[in-house]
């Protein structure tokens, strides 16, 4: 036993000395470096072909090359968190408020770039609207270079309009017409009307709330949310009162709605175990609807239409019926430099090029000119002769170039592009019309005092919450269980903390 103890002690010594090591010295400014970048999602087959061209430019311009890794969508959050919290030597990562930006900035794994950016990315940095930079602020620091683009917003439903018409429904534009379509499909077609699966778990739960009649009808700000959805928010016209999603009328309405879907067999009974998502089923003609983000709706639409010319597709963006809606965050995507990076200067120099040099932007966004895209005589982007866009080796805008998108360079603007799918364009125009400027953008809920409770809350949401959200439980019974679980998790403590912070914030503004 003594021996074992001695060995253990030795191990402890080794570790302490190693873990205590400091950061290696930084590469000097004129030395050639290889930058390492992590992007979210999946790559495209021809990414390396593009990267070879980019590296030629980079070597000439900033004496560096770039190595890009993708996280894949399957577990991108865990992967990014591991990379960042382990202090891996990575120079650039894609960051977004819909991802883990504020969490990681607060945890100290991202670099505050206020000192370096004016020197190494001056043009980009100096041209940011101060409002935008304010939105990126976390406890006074700026941890990302945001993109510069107003993104389409919302989450929509794409459905088989040909089937809808067959059963006398002209258009799906309400909960009622959606239900009518799904029921008709259930009774007459050999498919599960909304053939949902794992793919839909995160997206649909939010969507289902959005199509309820009692949901908020005008702009609101989300104060607390997690991967499963919103927890607390305030209405723009009444910021003093914090509202809680699970206490609201539309929350119960949503549960009832989903219970009906479940009982009437409009969704698969075993949706939580289904590894085939509704998108896949929809493409195979085995689902009458799926969800579709307006961001890539156009591209998906064209692909589906090409493969199934006999189908007619419809698109419904439920948020368009709201009286007002807050605009998409101006910082909805961006790039951050991890604290562990050894080349933050060079990383910023690359960002400067990506933001300011159209060649960099075009390469990373559309691929190699002549192979993956071409320009028409009037400057529109188009597929080269003989290339079917849906089997291109570099799908436009797909491999996460969003972190450095620039309005002035971007060629696929849904509102400006003439070839866009009419229904998507119309919905985006509406969203634009009802969009209001975001308020209170520099408020971030500091969770450090209630982190245990927040963790417990998240656990509840993967338990009874998801079962309720898919109608798998009796509503009354399940709701009571949910409330009990929330109480046990300490929701009152979280509420108190949030209310304190929020009222302090309001008082200070």
């Amino acid at each position: 036993m003594k021996r074992g103890a001695a060995l253990l002690f030795m191990a402890v010594l080794v570790i302490t000395s190693v873990f205590a090591n400091g950061r290696a010295e930084e590469a000097s400014e004129n030395e050639f470096v290889e930058l390492k970048m992590y992007l979210v999602g999946d790559t495209v087959p021809d990414y390396d072909m593009m990267l070879d061209e980019l590296n030629v430019l980079m070597e000439e311009d900033i004496n560096a090359s770039l190595d890009v890794n993708f996280t894949t969508w399957v577990d991108w959050q865990t992967k990014l968190r591991l990379i960042l919290s382990s202090g891996e030597k990575v120079d650039l990562v894609h960051m977004a408020p819909w991802g883990i930006y504020s969490e990681q900035a607060q945890a100290g794994s991202l670099m505050d770039i206020r000192n370096l950016a004016p020197t190494y990315a001056p043009e980009t940095w100096n041209s940011y609207n101060p409002d935008i930079l304010k939105q990126t602020e976390i406890n006074g620091g700026v941890y990302m270079m945001p993109f510069r683009y107003t993104e389409p917003i919302g989450q929509g439903i794409v459905y088989r309009k040909d089937l809808a018409k067959k059963y006398g429904i002209n258009e799906v534009n309400s909960t009622e017409s959606l239900m009518a379509l799904l029921k008709a499909v259930h009774d007459n077609e050999a498919m599960v009307p909304f053939n949902a699966g794992e793919f839909d778990l995160t997206v649909w739960i939010g969507m289902a709330g959005m199509i309820q009649n009692s949901r908020p009808q005008s702009a609101f700000k989300v104060l607390l949310e997690n991967t499963e959805g919103v927890i607390a928010y305030v209405n723009y016209d009444q910021p003093e009162t914090i509202l809680y999603d699970y206490e609201s009328a539309y929350y119960k309405e949503t549960m009832d709605f989903m219970r009906t879907m479940y009982n009437e067999e409009l969704i698969p009974r075993n949706v939580l175990s289904n590894t085939i998502g509704s998108r896949e089923a929809f493409l195979a003609g085995k689902s009458a609807m799926t969800t579709l983000n307006p961001l890539n709706a156009n591209e998906e639409f064209q692909k589906i239409q090409n493969s199934n010319p006999e189908w007619e597709l419809g698109y419904w963006l439920p948020m368009t019926t709201m009286a007002s809606h807050e605009k998409a965050p101006a910082i909805n995507n961006g790039m951050s430099i991890p604290t562990a990076s050894e080349n933050p200067e060079r990383a910023l120099m690359l960002l400067e090029k990506l933001h300011q040099d159209q060649r960099y932007h075009d390469l990373t966004t559309y691929g190699v000119q002549g192979v993956h895209w071409e320009l028409t005589s009037d400057g529109e982007i188009t597929a080269p002769q003989g290339l079917d866009l849906s089997d291109s080796g570099f799908q436009w805008d797909r491999p996460c170039p969003w972190g450095w998108r620039e309005e002035k360079f971007y060629r696929l603007n849904v509102l400006k592009s003439p070839s866009v799918w009419g229904e998507v364009k119309a919905s985006q125009e509406t969203m634009y019309d009802i969009g209001v400027e975001r308020k209170w953008t520099d408020f971030t809920f500091d969770k450090s005092n209630v982190s245990t409770e927040i963790s417990a809350l998240n656990t509840v949401r993967t338990g009874v919450f998801s079962a309720l959200s898919w109608g798998l439980m009796d509503v009354e019974e399940g709701y009571q269980e949910l409330i009990d679980d929330y109480d046990n998790a300490g929701i009152e403590t979280v509420k108190q903390e949030l209310e304190d912070q929020w009222s302090a914030y309001l008082a200070g503004n």
């Binding site: 382990s86 009974r269 927040i454 993967t462 998790a489």
Partner: protein
């Protein structure tokens, strides 16, 4: 004397180094159970928060459930899989032709090559409500379909079944080795005494297999609190209505990590797993030692 053990120590050195580097050094991470991990501060620099992480585990209310499930499933798995494996090994070892033995062994081993990821996809196809193979069959026989993924109790059968399916061939090979090691003379003698096959199995084969069985049992006890993540995760996944009967410590830790990325909590749960496992092993080992010193682990 001194010199001799030095050579032996030297021979053990690569292995000792391996365990030090890949097991003992990372064990320093256990301190995170009592800390709030802060990436910028590192493992040692992160602030101490006492028992707060353990508080979460208690607060989540799942601790009792996952502990009981873990133990229960391990017992069921051991009893079903290993007992069946012993008998399969006995039966196969007794088959007349080597080629037949090999044929059966190969087939029993087949599922081991299909990963659990495939198994999960496959299980859904077999058991889903709308067009699963089983339910299609039931309906064609005029019976009601069964909602497997929403019926908690059934999983006490489904999971062991898949576990057997995947591992029984693998386990039977180990027992097979023990049986083949039995000296032929013993069988000869039994036959001359006019013993039936059943009697031979009972008096010769089973006693020969028992030491292996005990070693495996001991080992399983130590591993009881962890392992089998693949099986539970791929078959049950996010299906929370089943958690009452299918959530084990491993899946619980996994969700703590994936949903919250709360490293402190995940480590604290892991620590609980380890301590609980250690006590189980020490207990069972002492018991085995009391009965038969040779069979104990250490």
């Amino acid at each position: 004397m001194k010199n001799k053990s030095q050579t032996l120590l030297l021979m053990a050195l690569p292995g000792i180094l391996y365990f030090l580097i890949f097991h003992y050094i990372p064990m320093i991470g256990i301190v995170l159970s009592f800390k709030k991990f802060h990436p910028a501060l590192g493992i040692l620099g992160s602030p101490w928060i006492g028992m707060k992480n353990f508080e979460f585990i208690l607060r989540s209310g799942a601790l009792g459930r996952v502990t009981i499930n873990t133990i229960l499933y391990n017992i069921i798995f051991f009893l079903t899989n290993d007992v069946l494996a012993v008998f399969l090994a006995i039966f196969i070892a007794d088959m007349a032709k080597r080629s037949i033995q090999k044929f059966y062994q190969s087939i029993l081993f087949l599922p081991y090559f299909l990963s659990f990821v495939v198994l999960g996809v496959f299980a859904y196809n077999l058991m889903n409500y709308e067009y699963g193979v089983i339910n299609t069959l039931l309906q064609s026989l005029g019976m009601h379909p069964v909602d497997f993924y929403n019926t908690k109790g059934l999983w006490y059968f489904i999971l062991p079944l898949f576990n057997i399916w995947k591992y029984v061939g693998y386990s039977s090979i180990i027992y097979m080795a023990a049986i083949v090691g039995i000296e032929q003379e013993q069988f000869e003698a039994a036959r001359i005494d006019g013993a039936t096959k059943w009697q031979t199995v009972k008096s010769i084969v089973i006693p020969a297999v028992i030491p292996t069985f005990v070693v495996l049992l001991l080992f399983r006890v130590g591993q009881m609190m962890r392992g089998q993540f693949d099986l539970f995760y791929n078959l049950v996944g996010n299906n929370s209505p089943l958690y009452d009967t299918t959530d084990v410590v491993d899946t619980f830790v996994f969700r703590a990590l994936v949903n919250n990325f709360d490293i402190g909590i995940a480590t604290a749960t892991g620590f609980y797993q380890s301590v609980f496992g250690l006590f189980l092993v020490l207990g069972v080992n002492a018991l085995v030692r009391a009965i038969n010193k040779e069979n104990s682990l250490f």
